[in-house]
């Protein structure tokens, strides 16, 4: 075990954990004031639920021994992590770090992938239904896909087992362009279709972001955490991590410029929402590529990702699906750009040592990258659609129409986000047994005061 590598992976894991609250702000700032808590709860709910499932069977499903010819790892093998917990002699390692550190590092990837999806269904999802979706989707989609992409286990003879996309097909995805972003983006599109458009979609001016500084805060925390996401994926504090680090700085920097340039030319104004979005688009795009392309090419990738995503977020109005906070436009499109760009610009001297079209590698790598991307995209989209659809048809995924009008915060969570002193009136009493029994679970209660009809 190497303490330096372990220090970096533990720090990186914490950084990636922070990304989900960061995402809660990035997304939450973009909703209306009356839906911000629900949006944040979908992220916090993902941390809570996926965190527990990961320890129970998620890690084992993603990184256990192949079942069904590699469709997933054996969920029971490391159930509850029970057999990898030794911290003394004979502590199991992954490379130079304790396996349990690797478990931690991978856990937060599962969490944020689920949280990312929630951006598509702002302002209209039941929280219970969301949790149910999250639990099923992460089990049936994320855990297997992580097995396909991130599992580099070998058998005793050193032959790859598991990871048909990553080590089988040889798709290059350093930190999750396919397993995280395309995966989440495709599921988001499916949910946007299942839940349908918000009331007033494309018309109601109240749909503008209610707190842009929160969006900036979210973008800042995401960028910060993403250094753990990408450079931590080297699983050590070494040259490869450093290489990934600098790409994780420069690609989003360029993508910010790219997005702002499109805005300036098209709308006349570079916006702060554009800067935050551009940074995230660049981070998404560099995720799979950060070990495969040089910083100069990262700048090119960033510019492209920023500009294309800036255009892509307008698609939902044209095509008529309400991907409310642009998970498709940013994560699916950005993830595709980054994953495919490797096929073009991968540099044989970069750590990934792959050769893309521009360096004389022909179209082979590009083909693989496309294949891996599409496999994940389709699998995730179809499964997410089915899961979402069944939930919608059974317990209902979307809140009733008047709950949407009242705002999901008040109707689903019985809370409102802000009270700057402008709210007046109302009455208060601590809940005690009696009162609880009486009022049940109704959140829209009749006024407790007697009224006389006029």
């Amino acid at each position: 075990m190497d303490t330096g590598d372990t220090a970096w992976v533990l720090a990186s894991a914490a950084l990636v954990l922070l990304m989900t609250p960061g995402l809660a702000f990035f997304y939450g700032g973009m909703t209306r004031a009356k839906g911000v808590l629900n949006m944040m709860m979908m992220s916090f709910g993902a941390i809570a639920l996926v965190g527990v499932l990961w320890v129970l069977y998620g890690y084992s499903t993603s990184f256990g021994t192949d079942l069904f010819g590699g469709v997933l790892g054996n969920p029971g093998e490391k159930f509850g992590l029970s057999n990898i917990l030794s911290t003394g002699d004979g502590m199991p390692l992954v490379g130079t770090i304790p396996e349990i550190a690797f478990v931690g590092f991978q856990s937060v990837f599962a969490i944020i992938t689920v949280a990312l999806i929630s951006g598509a269904i702002a302002d209209r999802a039941k929280f219970g239904a969301w949790l149910l979706f999250a639990g099923i989707w992460v089990t049936l989609v994320y855990f297997p896909v992580a097995h396909w992409v991130f599992d580099f286990n070998k058998d005793v003879n050193g032959n790859p087992i598991g990871g048909w996309i990553g080590q089988g097909l040889g798709v290059i995805d350093f930190a999750g362009g396919t397993a995280v972003h395309i995966n989440a983006g495709a599921a988001a599109l499916a949910l946007a279709l299942v839940l349908g458009k918000r009331k007033g979609f494309g018309k109601d001016p109240s749909h503008r972001p209610h707190n842009l500084p929160f969006v900036m805060l979210g973008a800042g925390l995401l960028w910060f955490g993403w250094f753990g996401f990408n450079a931590g994926s080297a699983l050590g504090a070494n040259g490869i991590a450093s290489f990934a680090w600098i790409n994780t700085l420069v690609a989003p920097a360029a993508a910010t410029l790219g997005w702002l340039l499109v805005e300036r030319l098209r709308d006349g104004h570079a916006t702060s929402l554009g800067a935050a979005s551009g940074a995230v688009a660049g981070l998404v795009a560099i995720t799979p590529a950060c070990s495969a392309i040089t910083p100069i090419w990262s700048i090119v990738l960033g510019l492209i990702a920023g500009a294309v995503c800036a255009l892509a977020v307008g698609l939902k109005y044209k095509l008529g699906y309400d991907d409310s906070l642009d998970v498709v436009g940013v994560h699916l499109v950005g993830g595709l750009i980054g994953t495919l760009f490797i096929g073009l610009a991968a540099d044989p001297n970069a750590p990934a040592a792959a050769t893309g079209l521009f360096h004389g590698g022909g179209l082979e790598l590009l083909g693989k990258q496309a294949l891996g991307s599409i496999a994940v995209l389709l699998y995730s989209f179809v499964l997410a659609f089915i899961i979402g659809w069944v939930i919608q048809k059974t317990i209902g995924f979307r809140v009733p129409s008047h709950h949407e009008e009242d705002g999901v915060d008040v109707s689903v969570h019985a809370e409102s986000a802000y009270d700057f002193g402008g709210r007046i009136g109302g009455s208060f009493h601590p809940l005690d047994g009696a009162a609880i029994a009486e009022e049940g679970s109704a959140n829209v209660a009749g006024s407790t005061k007697s009224k006389v009809e006029a």
């Binding site: 009136g425 208060f428 601590p430 809940l431 109704a442 829209v444 209660a445 009749g446 009224k451």
Partner: protein, 112 residues
């Protein structure tokens, strides 16, 4: 000259404004308000303590109008903001002694 004040549901503001514009009203003043009446409140819960909120967000619209337009305007407001559910609001009119346009100092009908 009269001043028409309407307390309506916030989500009806756009409809009312549209209706008034079509009718020919060229200006109005809007402000936020909270109303209390027959409409039922909702309950929020924070760490096991319950807050009953029975003041509802409303929007106040004020329109200065000449005598001949008042009835029509009131009708336009009512028809465009009515939902039939408790909480739709009130409209009232009062006599205005004098109205002035600040920009020009014009008074009376020319001011609105």
């Amino acid at each position: 000259m009269k001043l028409i004040t309407a307390i309506i549901r916030p989500e009806k503001l756009d409809d009312v404004r549209g209706g008034l514009e079509s009718y020919g009203v060229q200006g109005l003043t809007v402000s936020g308000a909270h109303g209390y009446g027959r409409q039922r409140g909702h309950t929020e819960v924070y760490r096991g303590a319950e807050y009953t909120v029975d003041l509802h967000p409303k929007v106040r619209i004020e329109v200065l109008a000449t005598e001949d337009q008042v009835d029509d305007i009131v009708d336009v407001i009512i028809s465009s903001s009515n939902t039939g559910r408790a909480g739709d609001g009130k409209v009232w009119t009062v006599d205005v002694y004098e109205a002035v346009r600040v920009r020009t100092g014009e008074r009376g009908a020319a001011a609105v």
